[in-house]
Symmetry: C2
Subunit: 203 residues, 2 copies
DNA sequence: CCCATCTGATACGCGGACGTTTCAGATGGG
DNA sequence: CCCATCTGAAACGTCCGCGTATCAGATGGG
């Protein structure tokens, strides 16, 4: 049954896919404009110009949408950092700066994603991904960027402090509470990242 | 009207005050056990062994309770830090360690308060206080403890990064994700706090 | 041209939480 | 002793969001 049929010249799969895409985009818009808490199934559908029927066509429930959304965002961040580090040298200073710049640039360029990340704690499904990602970023920064032993609990602590602190700083800077330019923010985060490395465990 | 009358030997004011206190204590218990999101008017009243009528006798609404709760918690933290710094010398290292220890000890000793602080972002009223307090703590640490110029935007950034990062670290450590002792955590936070000071603006 | 499918809108039932109100019974003052 | 006040429990009305179901009209295949 349900022998998929073209409609207005588009195949069933294409229609479904573009509706899903519209929903994800609409959610990001709502989050960016009104915050995560405002992104209900109803408001998202209204924003997308679709009805709830199509929501449940693509997502099992609201959590599924949020998970898809934040996973896409986190993949984007990782990709951005990966690209920045791809052609980099071995200098810890250079690598740290490139990483910090990738992060700041990513969220500066798309405030919707920034708000999603910043407000992730309001929703359990988002918060779980956020926490996991912070651990991952901490490992990445301490290991791949600064080149210290991430098995050391002190290094883990330092990594989480830098990542958590950077998140807080980004949130404030994007809100206009910190009167520094993009480059100055990157400078400071880089400086702090380098300063925070436990000297006793350098490799 | 409402000519307050004693009941079971207690004055009306005393009865009301103890009910209010019971509600605050119950909220803290619920938050500690089940999280901020679980602290509804109904669950709090049930925990306190009171009914909603008494809730609205002491609080205008749920937000008022949350505000009273987090303000009390933040006052407690400030008091604890103040006491720690009261008899301290001028050494930045000593003052930083005492501050870090005060913070870690406070939340380590009362996980309910820790959970309230950590989960504050889930509720707007709590989050507003949390954000304001972080700015305040950042100023306190950079100014009163480390003795640098808090008018400098770079110092503000560093302060927020340390405070935000410390919050993240505390959250993880209390959750058992960081395998360090109380003293080791204080050591690391102290070390990082000192390392993060922008050297170009020392006073 | 006819009928199955797709679309868009709307209605529905459910549960959770809020804040208000009602009521019977316990308690204390005059 | 009587009656006003206090207590504890419960009921109520409202709102909001979820997830499902219904239905008339548009569209396309055979």
């Amino acid at each position: 049954m349900a022998t998929a049929r073209p409609y207005r010249g588009v195949s069933a799969d294409d229609r479904k896919a573009s509706r899903r895409e519209a929903l994800v985009a609409a959610t990001l818009d709502v989050v960016g404009r009104d915050g995560v808490a405002a992104a209900t199934v109803e408001t998202v559908c209204a924003e997308a110009g679709l009805t709830k029927r199509y929501f449940y066509e693509s997502f099992a429930d609201r959590d599924a949408l949020f998970e898809a959304l934040i996973d896409a965002m986190l993949d984007g961040v990782r990709e951005r950092i990966g690209a920045a580090l791809a052609g980099a040298g071995d200098s810890a200073e250079e690598r740290t700066r490139l990483t910090a710049d990738a992060l700041v640039s990513f969220f500066d360029a798309d405030r919707r994603q920034a708000r999603l990340y910043i407000e992730a704690p309001v929703h359990p499904a988002l918060n779980a991904r956020r926490e996991a990602s912070m651990t991952g970023f901490a490992d990445l920064i301490m290991g791949d960027v600064l080149g210290v032993d991430t098995a050391d609990a002190r290094v883990q602590l330092a990594g989480l402090l830098v990542v958590g602190g950077t998140t807080e700083v980004l949130s404030r800077w994007l809100a206009g509470e910190i009167d520094l330019t993009h480059d100055e923010v990157v400078d400071e985060i880089t400086r702090i990242g380098l300063a925070v490395v436990p000297t006793t465990v350098e490799t």
